[in-house]
Symmetry: C2
Amino acid sequence: MYNLLLDKIIEKVNLTCAEQEIIQQYFVPKRLKKRQYLLQEGNVCDRLTFVSNGSLVSYSTDDKGCEHVISFAFDGCWAGDWASLYGKQPSSLTIEALQPCELLQIRAEHQELLFTLVPAYERFMRINHQNTCAAFQRRLESSLGLCADERYTRLIEESPVLAARIPLNLIASYLGVTPETLSRVRKQKYIPA
Amino acid sequence: MYNLLLDKIIEKVNLTCAEQEIIQQYFVPKRLKKRQYLLQEGNVCDRLTFVSNGSLVSYSTDDKGCEHVISFAFDGCWAGDWASLYGKQPSSLTIEALQPCELLQIRAEHQELLFTLVPAYERFMRINHQNTCAAFQRRLESSLGLCADERYTRLIEESPVLAARIPLNLIASYLGVTPETLSRVRKQKYIPA
DNA sequence: CGCGGGTTTGATGATGCTCAAGCCCGGTGG
DNA sequence: CCACCGGGCTTGAGCATCATCAAACCCGCG
């Protein structure tokens, strides 16, 4: 259960056995069934989640009740509402299990402790957040600069895994279009004749 | 020149005088005139920039030559192409001075050194990147969930400073609409009669 | 077998873009 | 000092993209 977590960290920084022990102590396991919520809009997100196994989706809900997918998280990914977690504000996101999940969670205040106890963990998180920023930036670039079919094309180029594992209506939401539009884009793309 | 930089860091973490000295040594000053480029699309972004004074805009350019503003940076802000800086890939962004700027820059490899020499600096950057993630997330939420006039309304609520200092055509680009559309939105909003 | 979620298809309509022109205003040079 | 220029902003008309609404379809599952 903890193997993937430690592997992912060791991929970026060195950890002694003792440090690995400490890290494990602060991450508590949690299971979610399909369709269960990890976080609901309005609650404060007070812990960071690592996905050992399964998949999660984060989405915001607008005035009209429409849901907009902000991100997905698969095995080895991290999930949470960054704005809530680091701003101590109520979450605007809902996070839900797309499949049965095995998760590892650390509470925000425990993570602060861990940063001090294991500096390498803090370094890991710094790197992790750098990559998250980079990913968000790229996402914004496509969202602002490309039209529907280009966004879809780029998505399947860059994240074939995602395209394969996620139902089309959620991919549509992630791309910022309706399922109908995505359907037409795909038709266009694969039956160009 | 270095005061604002150190202030911003000390706002989040403690620094001894010796550490402040070390940090200063790695940040080298640079001046930019209005309209000058800090980074051009295609080059690798190999340094992180702190704005002591002035303002910068980062934008990506699409196939048709249209520019899409990704972010602004004012006094006390950080700028760079995260995807390029942390992914070692050619930048898809151009960064340009909107006003004469006084900047402080640190090279990526020097920053790695600094992380080790001054752990508090690494902590600061971790926090800084957390906040950047949170900001990107909020931006994506409005971009996906709100229509043009709602995005503009939220912008002037949340960043009146930005709305005051930036010409409308750049705000339009930041919001993902054309200047014409923004103009009509503003008319609508302030002359509702 | 029938239900229901996800996907597709079609017709219609709104939002926001494009193109084109005019306006406002500050800066420059005669 | 004024006339001219140019960039930023506004306004208008027509149009493309994509959303909406509605219905049919497909297929796994109870």
